[in-house]
């Protein structure tokens, strides 16, 4: 009898009556016998509750387009009008190009936790819900823009924006205020009167070089990473070009003379560009499709973290392992990619150049190079004059030299290489082994073309010759100059000392680079964020140039940081102006025909590029009063900024992410008379703006947007699939409406016409023009793409020569010149400034701040390196002077020098990489991400010192923490050079100092070397309002009153320790390289191409204890107390780490 049946029987018969169990059992009722539980039992209605979680009414695709480089198409699911969730769309394999080529299915799936949690931003508490105007600024405008005397500066709170109120207004009111402000500022700073005002305000004469009489040139516009939304973000630059109408209105100048505003960069401002790339190959940046990783056999990873920072597509990196490639990682810390590597070379921060020069020496000394490639595609056979360090020009050597006609050559045919450019650059000279004579070579004489000329250039040799003018000079091939002279400073012993790299691993790396093909080197912002990144980038190419690892699948030297690539919409003589047709349509020759071919759009940029780095340096260029020459500008004319009086930025957290942010807020921005932000969220930049417009987000767009990527081949067009949650408008509409309002104010309808098709609700006219005018998209029809002709509606492939895209494929396979003066990959630069700075050869330099040694010293004894120190003493501590002082010393002497800052106790390099849980400042304070992003996430905020449900942290080695008396979880101060950080002129009693000094939690990480700490970049900074909230709210949350701004710090931010730098090597006028947006060449500066990169890693910090980590500041943090943190492991934790918790019994 079954137990259940027995109980039923007993109950029915009363057998239990009176027993002690009676009470318990008398309540039992009959049970049900079930033969098939799945059929009849248990009731399954409850399952509907769970299944219903995923029920939806409709779905739509959208493109997640932050600055991560991926641009993943997601699918959102909507119920009752609410976007519930998003998931990966799995559409990559369906996407085709015009010719039927399709993308590999290996791209699937695309998308990451950011896309999955986007709905928490769409509906999150930080949305900017309606237009706002700062109360003080509004009053200033309402008062008729009275003169900003010191009293009025304070009255209208230009010096206390962070303490002012943000007042809700309508869109129309906001546009009216901005229009009035722009007109006022443009008028105020135009003409002679404007000039006198600017000079009286302390701006130097050089700041007026590009001002040219126009007040509009004091207006700076920035469409944040414009490629992320070509219409709405790059549209900011179109708006800026329209300011030419305003200048014409104010100054009554002819069309051609009208000046518009200045365009602030993105890629270089973020410090993302590899600034050395234009020096080596002439291109803005080299990057392949990430799927190209699959074809490599040796993947060298330097200062990069593809695991954490390329989340959607990082599988291509990890697949290197399963596809048999060898991986080497060079980084100071044992990083996530290091854990995937065959070997990891730990290195002193900022010494990568020395390591690569050492590897290069080993390769050359051991014959580990491809001589044929070196002769055909590099400048190493070219001759250099020992007297002036310039390359020998053919016209200097050969009497009556008559340049070869190159009008049919590749340079002129493909890139419109002009006679003027050729005259300026000249032709070059090699020593021909075959004829035993000197031969002239042009920039077109590369690859097979050199062979066809019958020239076999000597790699090694030196000669004394008499020039055409009769002057005797000594010559040397660059190969010999490197091999026999320059690299002597970088022998293995010296390099291991300079870099702290293990000797056997340096040898192993040299051997691998010399013997494995294809080999590639990947770098990123880890490298590019150093002051001397130019040299690292150049050094990166030396092993690749020696072995021919360029222009082949799986090969190359690539940089990964930022979705910068406007060059995707490349203009050419054949197709039209490319992106320029959108951002710089000639405002005085508008084409209002909706059916016009993009090729026929006339362009004229009345704007001028400008690097925000100058704003970030106190709104001035690098002009130094040198002991030897007096006042001297190290900012080339092509780079010179103008005074900043108005800024409008969209889709960027400009102020939050500005290096030295508190200096900007305290000392620089008070001189700016109008700051306008367009954003989807109320971030720190909005907190410090005068006007803010709420923009729709990617899922809310009401009109189509278009994007592409530097790391994949997908062309993406999309619209949102839901109504805007609040009052937000498309950023393109905001721009168009602002232009219209300006036109209304000054009576010029051309402002409206400039955005005609936006006002008519069909901005796709501009998208079609863009497709028509670009080499990579011509032939596509907008309607076809949106109809799904090439796969998922809205998606197509860019028309690249190869899939995966391989940079310089044509150069190698078709013997086309690179984009350098010589047409070759360059190991040497002979621009006059470069020679003066001592960087004609690739050299290792210590940083101007982040070094234990003499700041900025050049490690070399090469007599062909002759830097100018401008008479600046080596003990001068001025920041200007440290940047420009060029002192050359051999390593044996360098290692005896000292950096005074290091001696004062600032002995930690501070690395500031991207986090895996956010994209720069986006997603940083989404609750889930804030909890995951650090070890201190706590939804309950048990410790009410925490600024939110999580907070930022600093990683440090346990040994260093022990020596400083720190435990994991402690709050620490991180201070940098007190001479200028957190801002110039800080004082202990200044309330703003309390906002600006950095305090955060400490995390111990045994993966970090002793003198290296790490703090992820772009968290939401402490502001005046957030600090006030933290100190006065009962719960201690750092949430600004009135704005809901959530800071991730109690005090300060990552930017408390950074500052602006102006690297002289980034500011040349003489650098010849490819223009980024069109098939042509330029000399000197161009935003995002050759311009100042920001370099946040150039800092040393001192770390001191602030508060104990335990609850309420008492005792250690609980995981430390209970034995779960490094260096404080309990016996159980130690057993776990050693694998002793589980034992297997044998037998």
């Amino acid at each position: 009898m079954k137990r259940r049946t027995l109980l039923q029987y007993l109950a029915a018969s009363g057998a239990l009556a009176g027993s002690p169990l009676g009470f318990a059992f008398q309540a039992l009722g009959p049970t049900v016998e079930i033969d098939n539980p799945l059929k009849a039992y248990p009731p399954r209605a409850w399952e509907k509750t769970y299944l219903d979680q995923y029920r939806y009414d409709s779905s739509f695709t959208w493109v997640c387009s932050p600055n991560c480089t991926h641009a993943c198409r997601m699918r959102a699911f909507v119920r009752n009008g609410v976007m519930l969730r998003s998931e990966q769309n799995y559409d990559s394999h369906k996407v085709k190009d015009l010719y039927g080529n399709s993308a590999t299915a290996a791209w699937n799936p695309r998308g990451c936790a950011n896309g999955f949690t986007f709905q928490r931003r769409v509906y999150g508490p930080n949305r900017l819900r309606y237009p706002v105007v700062r109360k003080g600024w509004k009053q200033w405008a309402d008062d008729g823009f009275p003169e900003l005397t010191p009293e009025n500066h304070s009255k209208y709170k230009f010096d206390a924006r962070g303490q002012d109120e943000l007042v809700r207004v309508t869109f129309d009111e906001a546009h009216t205020y901005v229009a009035k402000g722009l007109v006022h500022i443009a008028a105020k700073y135009s003409g002679d009167e404007g000039k006198q005002r600017l000079l009286a305000q302390g701006y130097g004469e050089e700041m007026l070089h590009h001002w040219e009489g126009a007040g509009t040139r004091t207006i700076k516009c920035r469409g944040g990473m414009g490629l992320l939304g070509v219409m709405g973000k790059y549209g900011m630059y179109r708006f800026c070009n329209a300011l030419a109408y305003l200048d014409q209105h104010l100054r009554k100048v002819p069309d051609a003379g009208a000046k518009a505003g200045r365009l602030w960069s993105n890629y270089t401002w973020h410090g993302d560009q590899a600034p050395g790339h234009p020096f080596v190959h002439g291109l803005q940046a080299s990057d392949c499709d990430l799927s190209d990783f699959r074809t490599t056999k040796f993947h060298l990873h330097i200062g990069k973290n593809l695991i954490e920072n390329k989340r959607a597509d990082n599988h291509f990196f990890t697949e290197c392992m399963e596809r048999g490639a060898k991986i080497c990682v060079i980084a100071p810390e044992y990083s996530p990619p290091a854990s995937k590597a065959d070997y990891w070379i730990p290195i002193r921060p900022n010494s990568d150049t020395a390591l690569l020069l050492g590897v290069t020496k080993l390769m050359i000394d051991r014959g580990g190079y491809d001589a044929a490639f070196v002769k055909r595609f590099t400048d190493l056979p070219l001759l250099v004059r020992k007297d002036n360090l310039r390359r020998l020009r053919a016209a200097e050597l050969f009497e009556g030299y008559r340049p070869e006609d190159l009008s049919r050559g590749a340079s002129a045919r493909l890139w419109r290489f002009s006679d003027d450019q050729r005259r300026r650059l000249g032709d070059f000279v090699v020593f021909d082994e075959r004829s035993k004579s000197f031969k002239a070579v042009t920039r077109d004489d590369v690859g097979d073309k050199l062979v066809q000329k019958g020239i076999d250039p000597a790699l090694e040799g030196s000669w004394t010759v008499t020039l055409a003018g009769g002057k005797p000079v000594e010559l040397i091939t660059l190969f010999s100059a490197y091999k026999d002279v320059h690299l002597k400073d970088y022998d293995l012993d010296a390099v291991c000392e300079m870099t702290s790299a293990p000797r056997d691993l340096v040898l192993r790396l040299a051997n691998d680079l010399a013997t494995i093909k294809p080999a590639c080197i990947h770098t990123g912002e880890g490298i590019n964020h150093w002051f001397h990144a130019t040299e690292v980038n150049r050094a990166t190419y030396l092993p690749l140039m020696l072995t021919g690892n360029i222009g082949r699948p799986g090969a190359g030297g690539h940089t990964w940081a930022g979705n910068y690539k406007s060059a995707l919409f490349q203009g050419s003589a054949e197709t039209g102006p490319g992106l320029k047709g959108w951002v710089a349509e000639d405002p005085f020759h508008l084409n209002l025909d909706p059916k016009a071919d993009g090729k026929d759009i006339r362009t004229h940029a009345h704007t001028a590029d400008e690097e925000p780095a100058y704003w970030n340096y106190g709104d001035k260029p690098l002009v130094v009063n040198t002991p030897k020459y007096g006042k001297r500008s190290f900012t080339g004319q092509t780079h010179l900024p103008t005074p900043t009086k108005a800024i409008w930025f969209t889709n960027v957290n400009l102020i939050n992410n500005a290096k030295w942010a508190y200096e900007m807020i305290k000392n620089v921005d008070p001189k700016i008379e109008l700051i306008v932000a367009t954003d989807i969220e109320l971030n720190a930049s909005v907190e410090y703006s005068d006007v803010a417009f709420p923009a729709t987000c990617w899922t809310e767009f009401q009109t189509p947007e278009i994007t592409g990527s530097c790391s994949n081949p997908f062309l993406q067009i999309w619209k949102g699939g839901m109504k805007p949650v609040y009052e937000a408008k498309d950023d393109l509409s905001i721009l168009a409406d602002q232009a219209k309002k300006l036109g209304e104010l000054i009576g010029d309808s051309r402002f409206t016409d400039y955005f005609k098709f936006v006002h008519e609700g069909r901005p796709e006219v501009y998208i079609q023009r863009l497709l028509d005018a670009s080499t990579t998209t011509r032939g596509y029809r907008y309607a076809d793409i949106m109809a799904g002709r090439y796969g998922e509606p809205g998606a197509a492939l860019f028309l690249f020569r190869t899939y995966p895209r391989v940079p310089f494929y044509e150069q190698i396979t078709e013997s086309l010149p690179f984009f350098t003066p010589t047409g070759r990959l360059q190991a040497y630069n002979d621009e006059p400034e470069v020679i003066e700075y001592g960087e004609n050869f690739v050299v290792h330099r210590e940083g101007p701040e982040a070094t234990p040694y003499l700041p900025n010293v050049i490690v070399s004894s090469n007599p062909l390196v002759r830097p100018d120190d401008y008479g600046i003493p080596t003990d001068h501590l001025g920041v200007d002077e440290r940047q420009i002082r060029n002192v050359k010393l051999p390593w044996s002497k360098v290692k005896t020098t000292k950096n005074p800052l290091w001696e004062k106790g600032f002995r930690f390099f501070c690395l500031t990489p991207k986090t895996r849980h956010a994209t720069h400042s986006q997603w940083q304070v989404v609750d889930w991400q804030l909890i995951w992003n650090n070890p201190f996430g706590d939804p309950h905020r048990t410790d009410q010192r925490s600024p939110g449900v999580g907070e930022h942290s600093l990683s440090m080695s346990p040994e260093a923490a022990r020596d400083l008396g720190l435990d994991e979880g402690d709050y620490v101060y991180v201070d940098a050079n007190p001479a200028d950080r957190p801002y110039v002129g800080w004082k202990p009693h200044d309330p703003f100092y309390r906002v600006a000094r950095l305090m955060l939690r400490l995390k111990l990480n045994p993966g970090y070397p002793y003198d290296v700490v790490m703090m992820k970049h772009a968290p939401w900074i402490a502001t005046e309002r957030s600090v006030k909230a933290h100190e006065t709210r009962p719960d201690g949350r750092a949430v600004s009153e009135g704005t809901s701004y959530q800071a991730m710090f109690r005090y300060g931010s990552q930017q408390s320790i950074t500052r602006g730098w102006l690297m002289p090597m980034h500011q040349l006028d003489s650098l010849f390289h490819k223009a980024k947006g069109t098939m042509g060449f330029i000399f000197g500066g161009e935003a995002d191409n050759h311009a100042v990169n920001t370099t946040p890693k150039e800092t040393l910090v001192r770390i001191t204890k602030a508060e104990s980590g335990g609850l309420g500041g008492k005792g250690p943090w609980e995981p430390t107390r209970s034995g779960f943190t490094p260096r404080a492991e309990s016996p159980d934790m130690q057993a776990y780490l050693e694998g002793r918790l589980t034992t297997v019994k044998k037998g």
Partner: protein, 298 residues
């Protein structure tokens, strides 16, 4: 010190003068029962006999039934007696207030405070159920906490919850709060001992806590006086909590007001004293300065 020790007679176990009005949070009671049942032989089976039938009830009726059952078992397992003994000595001050016992979300939340229950005045005791595993320490803790509430209700103590903590900055106020906890706690334990009631900490224990809260040392003799049963009123206790500025680890720097563990040396301070005094006329070198502030005045 202005108040003398209270010398009320000790109250014996279960000798509550007035009926106890006790309200247990059901989850608290359930947790206590869960923890204590295994310690009483046979109790688990007996509890099951009472609990099993409750599963026959409609789901909506079960929580109340379980709450009733668990309250009964809290009594049977001895925890009810602990609560009664903790309250009994303060029957006069508490009057007819309910005692409501709740679980803490975190250990820091433990403690007693004034509250209301169904619009009736109540004592709110947030208490970790785990404490009931050790009856004597539990009684000491509960008695100590209830004594705090008794002070709050005693007009002579002059308790004012709105009186601000001394200190200009949050860290200073946090430190003052910690000091106040120590001083008040020492005073209560002193009086409990004088009445023969269990105290939370020994006099030495309070001295140790005071050394942490007052890195430069608490005012002379204060802890001893409190441990002997002294009871200064609320405002006087608070006045003793003011943060003095001076170079002690974790103290606020007198210049930037950030708490610091990195004080500049006396020699460094002396060298910069004249420059500091320009910005801080009331500052004296003996006040010290943190190393970072000194960078400003080198």
């Amino acid at each position: 010190m202005t108040a003398d020790a209270t010398t009320a007679p000790a109250v014996t176990r279960h000798a509550l003068a007035r009926p106890l009005w006790l309200r247990l949070e059901p989850e608290w009671a359930a947790e206590v029962v869960r923890l204590l049942l295994p310690r009483s032989p046979g109790a688990a089976a007996e509890y099951a006999l009472g609990a099993d039938p409750l599963y026959r009830l409609p789901p909506d009726d079960r929580p109340a039934a379980f709450a009733q059952l668990d309250a009964l078992w809290v009594e049977r397992l001895g925890s009810g007696g602990i609560l009664r003994d903790a309250v009994a000595p303060f029957a006069t001050e508490l009057g007819r207030r309910l005692l409501c016992v709740l679980r803490p979300a975190a250990q820091l939340e433990e403690g007693a405070d004034l509250g209301r229950y169904d619009d009736a005045p109540a004592v709110r005791l947030v208490l970790s159920p785990r404490r009931m595993l050790e009856p004597e320490p539990a009684l000491a803790f509960c008695t100590h906490e209830v004594a705090h509430v008794a002070d709050m209700l005693d007009a002579s103590f002059g308790y004012d919850p709105h009186r601000p903590l001394p200190g200009a900055t949050r860290p200073e106020r946090e430190l003052a709060r910690e000091r106040f906890r120590v001083l008040w706690g020492a005073s209560i334990d002193g009086r409990l001992r004088a009445r023969g009631l269990p105290a939370l900490l020994s006099s030495e224990g309070w001295h140790a806590l005071a050394r942490r809260a007052f890195p430069k040392g608490p005012p002379a003799g204060l802890i001893d006086a409190l441990s002997r049963g002294g009871r200064p009123p609320h405002d006087e206790l608070l006045a003793r909590c003011t943060c003095e500025h001076g170079p002690a680890p974790g103290q606020p720097c007198p210049l930037c007001r950030f708490p610091t563990h990195a004080w500049a040396s006396e020699a460094q301070v002396a060298a910069a004293a004249a420059r500091i005094a320009i910005d801080f006329p009331r500052w004296a070198p003996a006040d010290g300065a943190c190393a970072q502030c000194l960078e400003c005045y080198r």
